[in-house]
């Protein structure tokens, strides 16, 4: 086998270049700590890295979401426990106010303290975040939820929206509760609204709230239809929400002469139609907040007691207030319990997110990180090879027959 002089040079140079290339690659792997410098180094690994990095970015974001949610829940919890303490005081005052030994002045000072507490609680219920968002306004974060109206009451101005935050891949946590849920917990009196175009034909008075309430929650909306035949004779039918006649015997096509009254399950209906009419009766129990309860009580206490009738009025008001404060506190407690449960769930989610992060990071590292031991060993081996090539090159090219021809 013959070898040309050019070959000697090109071959050696090629070999040394290859060695240097490998050295450069290893050098980069060691310097950056990354095994995969481009997707071509490990296409499957590179695609996995995209997915893992996406997952990691999400997990990190979930972690900060959880922090945010935790803060909101903590703020809500702190406000609620302040309100709870204020309610305890209201409760105490109410019990005091029930004592028959109090003078009008005493009652007035209790009423004053109640008004002060009301203002304090209203302030808490209108708590804003640092960025000015009302935390108990539902979705209406820029609307003050409890504003005193002309009648001295505090109707709720917000809505029922609740914000959910992503705490895990498939775990949304509710970060706040609307004021309607937290505070509007004291049932008011049953209100029957009449819907339709002919509502003038009917007047309704609630005579027995308990049975009317039970009836409405059983029957849904009632429908009263009044018919008038060609001779001017009237008849009515009273149906439940699914169209079945109510009453026993059934109140169906009952002839009557207006004006007429009808007693049904705690309702007194006065029918005074001028023609055929179709009316929907809807029973609604509006909810009120502790603010209205305290203010109503204060109003009652401020009226001077002169006789036993007044005494009775005061003790009725006190009894009503006690039971209302109770309902309000009960609701507060159940919201606080829910907040606690959410906090707990968040903590568990945080733990599992962190665990997942750890796993994802270690998977990512096993895919993309350089195995330093192997890389450094390879580097040294390659160095030795390069040095050897260099030595050989020097020796091979140093030999020439021309040196010996004199």
């Amino acid at each position: 086998m013959r070898i040309s002089t050019q070959q000697v040079y090109t071959q050696s140079v090629y070999n040394m270049q290859q060695s240097q290339l490998k050295l450069a690659e290893l050098n980069e792997q060691i310097a950056t700590g990354k095994r995969i410098q481009s997707a071509a180094d490990d296409p499957v690994g590179a695609a996995q890295m995209v997915a893992l990095n996406e997952e990691l970015a999400q997990l990190e974001k979930y972690e900060s979401n959880i922090g945010y949610a935790q803060n909101s829940l903590d703020l809500e919890e702190a406000v609620l426990s302040d309100i709870n303490i204020a309610m305890d005081r209201m409760s105490e005052l109410t019990v005091q106010a029930g004592s028959s030994t109090l003078s009008n002045n005493d009652r007035e000072s209790i009423a004053n303290e109640l008004r002060g507490l009301t203002e304090y609680v209203a302030g808490l219920m209108n708590t804003q975040t640092a960025s000015g968002e009302y935390i108990f306004a539902g979705s209406q974060g820029h609307t003050q939820p409890f504003v005193q109206d002309g009648n001295g009451h505090y109707p709720y101005q917000g809505d029922d929206g609740q914000r959910q935050i992503q705490a895990g891949a498939s775990f949304l946590v509710t970060t706040g509760d609307p004021g309607s849920e937290v505070f509007m917990a004291v049932p008011g009196t049953l209100d029957v609204s009449l819907l339709g175009v002919d509502t003038d034909a009917l007047a309704v008075v609630v005579t027995d709230e308990t049975s009317a309430d039970a009836m409405f929650s059983d029957a849904g909306d009632l429908h009263l239809s009044i018919a008038e035949d060609a001779l001017g004779h009237f008849s009515y039918s009273l149906n439940d929400s699914s169209g079945n006649a109510l009453g026993d015997p059934a109140l169906s096509n009952v002839a009557f002469t207006p004006p007429d009254t009808l007693e049904y399950e705690g309702l007194c209906l006065t029918l005074n139609p001028t023609g055929a009419a179709d009316i929907t009766l809807r029973g609604e129990t509006p909810q009120q907040s502790i603010l209205d309860v305290a203010l109503d009580l204060a109003d009652a206490l401020e009226q001077p007691v002169t006789g036993s009738d007044d005494q009775q009025r005061v003790s009725d008001a006190v009894a009503q207030a006690l039971s209302d404060i109770d309902s309000a506190q009960e609701q507060l407690l159940s919201v606080q319990t829910a907040i606690g449960a959410r906090s707990g769930a968040l903590e568990r989610q945080l733990d599992s997110n962190q665990e997942l992060q750890l796993i994802t990071k270690s998977t990512l590292s096993s895919i993309e990180d350089t195995d330093l031991t192997t890389a450094i060993t390879d580097l040294q081996l390659e160095q030795i090879l390069l040095e050897a090539s260099q030595v050989v090159f020097g020796q091979v090219t140093g030999m020439s027959l021309f040196d010996y021809i004199r």
Binding site: M1, Q6, A40, P43, A51, E133, S139, G161, S242
Partner: protein, 666 residues
């Protein structure tokens, strides 16, 4: 005695010539392509001394082998090195679109946490802007690659032309030298060298054709050089994509197209790379298109900080320029079009393919998926009577006046000619064309981000069932939201009855004191049987109730005026990250599989390039070991011929001495 003198001078001349050859060999030890020459001595009859002839040591077989290995290697090398660039572009942290999406979706989570925060909203706008920029940048880089291919193709064409011209003229020069009986080895070496360089550009078949020298043919049989005639290669606009360069070969006035499959060499590698680049470009465009569209749709379905319905985030995917850029009439068409455009009707249904629409009959056409070859014939689609009736999988045609609208796979292709379409005219369709370049954020005010849902849900305070409700806006342009704006028209109540199973009525509560049953498509929504989890479709939005209903339970739906703290719409935006968005997968997994595909192609191209380099090396070595100059060998020959020269001179001297001796003796 005169014989001796004759032999001596002959021998002197022979050896001196041999020494010249040695000199020539030594002088060309580093000349690329030089084949060593050797002197053959032969004895002459009856004291005739020796005569010499020179031979060029080479092997046609080995040379051919080097040429063809060269073509294979330079194709593999040019493809691999270009692919490595693409691979880096897609996967590098700075340009990686998946990372840009990670950053965007992370910013999105901030507004999920606190939608009222102005800084959070501005951050989201900034990330949207940066994401759009990432798409624009990616597109620009890919376009630069396309431009680079175009310019390299034309410089390759120029080089091929020069080499072919050179080889053709060498063919005739060599032929003339041969005819004079003085073969010119150096010209032959030069020609071999030039063919080698040509083989780097394109794969060649080299045929030795007697006296006319070497003829070169391309792999598909097209002649490049025949004798002293050379073809010219020119660049022209590609028929299927007017923005790209195509190659044409012209031999003796015969013009024909060169297509990528069989060209080989560097040019073949470039064309192969262009295929990969086009695929990547399509994928990036489709990603941009579906992203902009999905985000826009969801943004339109929401409500902003000022309680207005959302407006589009990104520029319209169906702008005039984009729609008409998606379709190109083939240059060979006989008919001409007045207008043509492609409208995307459902971005998520796009397959990412490019199509060719061919007129296959006087009233027939076919649509071919360019990558899979799958064909949809007009006979397989239903014909509808008006454009308004079009649904996916149908077409509208008014053949006499030359109007055709085809609705398939998420798009509507519109063609308008002034008369009937011409048979075998064809049109190229690229539905995602330019989407990444055109992606532009048009919403720049953070307060205009529609993070809230426009529908407020208010359960009655005294509901006793366990129902929970969600609302999905299905058509933000429905009259419910648009007339008048800032209101839900009409607001509705869902009221449950006491039937078993539970039923509900839906009322229009425009007048709260007189609810009337809501009518949908002419029928009132009364006594509807409730089934938990079922969506109730109303005009423009749907309601989904889940749980246990109690008689009298009531839910009111109204416009979410002032709902600044609501984050329902942005939750839906955020959920898109993991939803399937383009050909059945999420954006980021589509991107990951693109990286994987390009990475695999790059890896195998690199392996192929290394393997073909080894093959080339070994065939070059085989050739070099035969034809290359070895200095030690030449040194030995130098000594050998020098000594012979000295001996020959001695012969003459001896002959002279002999003659002198004779003269002296006389």
């Amino acid at each position: 005695m005169s014989n001796l003198l004759h032999i001596g001078s002959q021998s002197l001349a022979s050896n001196s010539y041999a020494l010249n050859i040695v000199g020539q060999n030594i002088a060309n030890v580093n000349t690329p392509g030089y084949s060593q020459q050797s002197v053959n001595f032969s004895s002459q009859a009856a004291f005739g001394g020796s005569s010499t002839s020179v031979e060029r040591i080479t092997s046609e077989y080995l040379t051919q082998q080097v040429w063809s290995d060269q073509a294979v290697y330079s194709q593999a090398d040019s493809y691999a090195s270009k692919m490595a660039g693409l691979d880096n572009l897609l996967a590098a942290d700075g340009s990686n679109l998946s990372k840009a999406m990670d950053r965007y979706f992370s910013a999105l989570q901030n507004v999920v946490d606190d939608p009222t925060s102005a800084p959070n909203r501005e951050l989201m706008v900034a990330e949207l802007e940066s994401l759009a920029n990432s798409f624009n940048d990616m597109d620009r880089q890919l376009q630069d690659q396309q431009a680079m291919i175009d310019s390299q193709l034309s410089s390759s064409a120029e080089q091929v032309n020069q080499l072919a011209e050179g080889i053709a003229s060498l063919n005739s020069a060599i032929q003339q030298a041969d005819a004079l009986g003085k073969p010119d080895f150096e010209l032959q070496d030069q020609r071999d060298q030039m063919i080698g360089e040509l083989a780097q550009q394109m794969d060649l078949n080299v045929v030795e054709q007697g006296s006319s020298g070497y003829s070169l043919y391309l792999d598909n049989g097209q002649p490049l050089v025949v004798g002293s005639h050379a073809a010219t290669i020119s660049t022209t606009m590609s028929d299927s994509n007017p923005t790209q360069t195509a190659l044409q070969i012209n031999f003796n006035g015969q013009q024909s197209d060169l297509n990528g499959g069989s060209i080989g060499g560097k040019v073949g590698g470039l064309l192969e790379y262009r295929e990969s680049l086009n695929t990547a470009q399509n994928e990036v465009d489709l990603m941009a298109l579906t992203f902009a569209d999905s985000m826009n749709q969801q943004q339109l379905a929401g409500m902003d900080l000022n309680s207005e319905m959302g407006s589009a985030l990104f520029s319209d995917i169906n702008s005039h320029a984009l729609m008409s850029g998606r379709i190109n009439a083939s240059l060979d068409n006989n008919g001409s079009l007045n207008r043509s455009w492609v409208e995307i009707t459902d971005a998520n249904a796009l397959t990412g393919a490019e199509y060719t629409l061919d007129i296959t009959g006087s009233e027939a056409f076919s649509l071919t998926d360019a990558s899979s070859g799958q064909q949809i014939k007009s006979s397989a689609l239903s014909q509808v009577a008006s454009v308004a009736d079009l649904t996916d999988g149908s077409y509208y045609a008014d053949w006499d006046s030359g109007e055709l609208v085809v609705a398939v796979e998420g798009m509507q292709i519109h063609l308008e000619a002034s008369s009937r379409f011409m048979l075998s005219d064809s049109f190229n369709i690229d539905p995602a064309h330019d989407a990444a370049a055109a992606m532009e954020l048009i919403l720049t005010d953070g307060s205009k981000l529609a993070l809230a849902s426009p529908v407020r849900i208010s359960p009655a305070a005294d509901n006793s069932g366990t129902l929970s409700v969600t609302v999905t806006v299905t058509d933000p342009l429905a009259t419910t939201f648009t007339s008048p704006p800032h209101a839900l028209s009409p607001p509705v109540d869902v009221v449950f009855s006491n039937s078993e199973p539970p039923t509900y009525n839906i009322y229009d509560v425009s007048d709260p004191s007189n609810p009337v049953p809501l009518e949908l498509n002419g029928s009132p929504l009364t006594d509807q049987v409730y089934s938990s989890g079922e969506a109730i479709q109303l005009n423009g939005f749907s309601i989904r109730l889940t749980g246990q209903a109690s008689p009298g339970d009531r839910f009111s739906f109204s416009y979410n005026d002032g709902g600044v703290s609501d984050n329902r719409n942005v939750l839906a935006l955020s959920a898109m990250q993991s939803e399937s968005q383009m050909h059945g997968v999420s954006w980021q997994s589509a991107y990951a599989s693109m990286i994987e595909r390009v990475g695999t192609d790059t890896q195998s191209a690199q392996l192929h390039s290394q393997a073909s380099l080894s093959v080339l090396k070994s065939s070059e070595e085989a050739k070099a070991s035969l034809s290359g100059v070895n200095l030690d060998e030449e040194a030995a020959k130098l000594v050998q011929y020098q000594q012979a020269y000295q001996a020959s001179a001695q012969l003459i001297s001896t002959s002279q001495t002999l003659f002198q001796t004779l003269l002296d003796a006389v």
